[in-house]
C-alpha cells in the first residue's frame, strides 16, 4: 500500500515535470517542423548548393548524440559567448535541431512518395512550381507523413529525458531529485516510467487511429 501512497506524495512534483516535458516536446516539434519543411524542400530542389546544404545538415545532426549537442550548447556555447542560457531554451533548441534533421527526411520521403504524374498534370495545366506544391503535392504528402510526424513527436518526447543533464526540471530530473531525498529509486523510477508509458501509449494509439482514418480507401465522400 505504501507504494501507492508514496506515488501520491511524489505525483505533484512528477506531474509538473511531465508538464515541462510535454511543453518542450511540442515547442521543439513545432520549430522542427518548420525547419524540416524548408530543409526537405532544399533536398528536392534543383539547386545543387541547397541540396548539399540540407544533406550536410542532416548528416551532421544525425551524427551527434543529442546529449552532446545539449551539453555543447548549454555549457560550451554559453561559456564562449559569456551568457547564461535558460536551460529550457537550450533544451528546446537542442531538441529542435535534433528533430529537424529527421523531420526533413520524413518530409523529403513524403513528397517523393507522390507520383510524379501529379506534378506533371499540375504543371501542364499552367500552374507554377509553388502553386503545384501548395495545392497538389503538399496536401497529399502531408497526409502520408502524419504517422511519421507523430512517431517523431514520440521520439522527441522520450528524448527530453536526456535534457536532465542540463538541469531542465522535466520528468526524469524531478524523479532524480525525489530519489536524492528519499533513496527509493525502485519506486520512484517506476512511477516515472509509467508516466512516460501512459503518455506515449496514448500518442501511439492516436497515431494508429489517424493512420487508419487517413488511409486512401477511406478518403473522401462515397457516392
Amino acid at each position: 500500500m505504501y507504494y501507492f501512497q508514496l506515488f501520491r506524495e511524489c505525483f505533484p512534483s512528477l506531474l509538473s515535470g511531465l508538464y515541462l516535458t510535454i511543453v518542450m516536446a511540442i515547442a521543439s516539434i513545432f520549430f522542427a517542423f518548420i525547419i524540416g519543411v524548408v530543409l526537405g524542400l532544399f533536398s528536392i530542389s534543383n539547386s545543387k548548393a541547397l541540396r548539399s546544404f540540407s544533406t550536410a545538415y542532416i548528416y551532421a545532426v544525425r551524427g551527434v548524440p543529442l546529449m552532446i549537442l545539449a551539453l555543447f550548447l548549454y555549457f560550451g556555447v554559453s561559456s564562449i559567448l559569456e551568457i547564461r542560457f535558460n536551460p529550457v531554451v537550450a533544451a528546446i533548441l537542442s531538441l529542435t535541431i535534433n528533430a529537424s534533421a529527421y523531420m526533413a527526411e520524413i518530409f523529403r520521403g513524403g513528397i517523393q512518395a507522390i507520383d510524379v504524374g501529379q506534378t506533371e498534370a499540375a504543371r501542364s495545366l499552367g500552374l507554377g512550381y509553388l502553386k503545384t506544391m501548395q495545392k497538389v503535392i503538399l496536401p497529399q504528402a502531408i497526409k502520408i507523413m502524419i504517422p511519421a510526424f507523430l512517431n517523431q513527436f514520440i521520439t522527441t518526447l522520450k528524448d527530453t529525458s536526456i535534457l536532465s543533464v542540463i538541469s531542465v526540471r522535466e520528468l526524469t530530473l524531478n524523479g532524480q531529485i525525489i530519489i536524492a531525498r528519499n533513496y527509493l529509486p525502485f519506486e520512484v523510477y517506476s512511477y516515472v516510467a509509467v508516466m512516460y508509458l501512459v503518455i506515449i501509449t496514448g500518442l501511439s494509439l492516436l497515431s494508429k487511429k489517424l493512420e487508419r482514418k487517413l488511409s486512401y480507401d477511406n478518403h473522401g465522400k462515397r457516392n
Binding site: 501529379q118 499540375a122 501542364s124 495545366l125 500552374l127 497538389v136 473522401g220 457516392n223
Partner: protein, 245 residues
C-alpha cells in the same frame, strides 16, 4: 503552323531518344504518332510542352519559342495534356480538379469556372459525377474527367499521351468517343496511341516513329494501307494481327 519542331534532339544520360526530329502541325489538324515502345513517341510529345527539356533544336508552339520561353506556365495554359495514368488529383473532387487551375491562375471567376466545368462534364457524359472523388471513378471515367479538366483551360492544342493504354478494354471506346467528338469540333490534337483503328478513322496525318526517328509520315490511308518502309510494315502487321487473334 501551330506547332513547328525543328531538328530536335533529346537524350536521357547517354541514351539518345530523339535523333533530330522535325515536325509540323497545322491548326485543326489531328496528328497520330504510332510506333513500338521505346521509339521516343511519348518523349516527343512531352517535349512539345516542355515537360522534357531538349538538348538541341527548336520548338515553336502557337507562335512562341517554347524552348526559350521565360514564362512557360503561360504557354502551357494553351496546351492541354492528357496522360496515360490520368493523373487526377485524388485530394480534390471532380469539380475541384477542374476548377483548380482556372481559379488559381485567375483565368475565370468562380461562377464562370463552375458553369464551364459543368458544361464540359455534360459533354463527356459525367455530369452526375461532379462532386465525387476520383477514386470512386472507373478508368474510363477518370480519363474523361482528365480530358475535361484539360479542356477547362480553353487550350488551343491538346496532347494525348497513350490515353487509352491503361484502360480495361471495355472502357477504351468511351474515351475514344470523346476524343473523336473533339476532333470533329476542329481541335488541334497530337495523339500518341496504340489504337490503330482510331488512328485510321480520326487522324488527318499519321507519323510512324522508330528508334528516335520519324520513319514514315503520311495520311492515315497512306501509312496504313501502303507503308513505304519495311519497319513500319512489320510493326503494323504485328499490331494488326495481334488485334484479330
Amino acid at each position: 503552323m501551330i506547332i513547328t519542331a525543328n531538328e530536335i534532339r533529346k537524350s536521357f544520360g547517354h541514351l539518345e531518344v530523339l535523333k533530330g526530329i522535325s515536325l509540323e502541325v497545322t491548326e485543326g489538324e489531328v496528328l497520330c504518332i504510332i510506333g513500338p515502345s521505346g521509339s521516343g513517341k511519348s518523349t516527343l510529345l512531352r517535349c512539345l510542352n516542355r515537360l522534357e527539356e531538349i538538348q538541341s533544336g527548336d520548338i515553336t508552339v502557337i507562335g512562341e519559342n517554347i524552348v526559350q520561353a521565360k514564362n512557360i506556365n503561360k504557354l502551357r495554359e494553351n496546351i492541354g495534356m492528357v496522360f496515360q495514368s490520368f493523373n487526377l488529383f485524388p485530394n480534390y473532387t471532380v469539380m475541384q480538379n477542374m476548377m483548380l487551375a482556372p481559379l488559381e491562375l485567375q483565368k475565370m471567376t468562380r461562377k464562370e469556372a463552375e458553369e464551364k466545368a459543368v458544361a464540359l462534364l455534360k459533354k463527356v457524359g459525367l455530369e452526375d459525377k461532379k462532386n465525387v472523388y476520383p477514386h470512386t471513378l472507373s478508368g474510363g471515367q477518370k480519363q474523361r474527367v482528365a480530358i475535361a479538366r484539360a479542356l477547362q483551360m480553353n487550350p488551343k492544342i491538346m496532347l494525348f499521351d497513350e490515353p487509352t493504354s491503361a484502360l480495361d478494354p471495355e472502357m477504351v471506346e468511351e474515351v475514344l468517343k470523346v476524343m473523336k467528338d473533339l476532333a470533329q469540333e476542329g481541335m488541334t490534337m497530337v495523339i500518341v496511341t496504340h489504337e490503330m483503328g482510331f488512328a485510321r478513322d480520326v487522324a488527318d496525318r499519321v507519323i510512324f516513329m522508330d528508334d528516335g526517328y520519324i520513319v514514315e509520315e503520311g495520311t492515315a490511308q497512306e501509312v496504313f494501307t501502303a507503308p513505304k518502309s519495311s519497319r513500319c510494315n512489320d510493326f503494323l502487321s504485328k499490331v494488326l494481327s495481334a488485334r484479330t487473334h
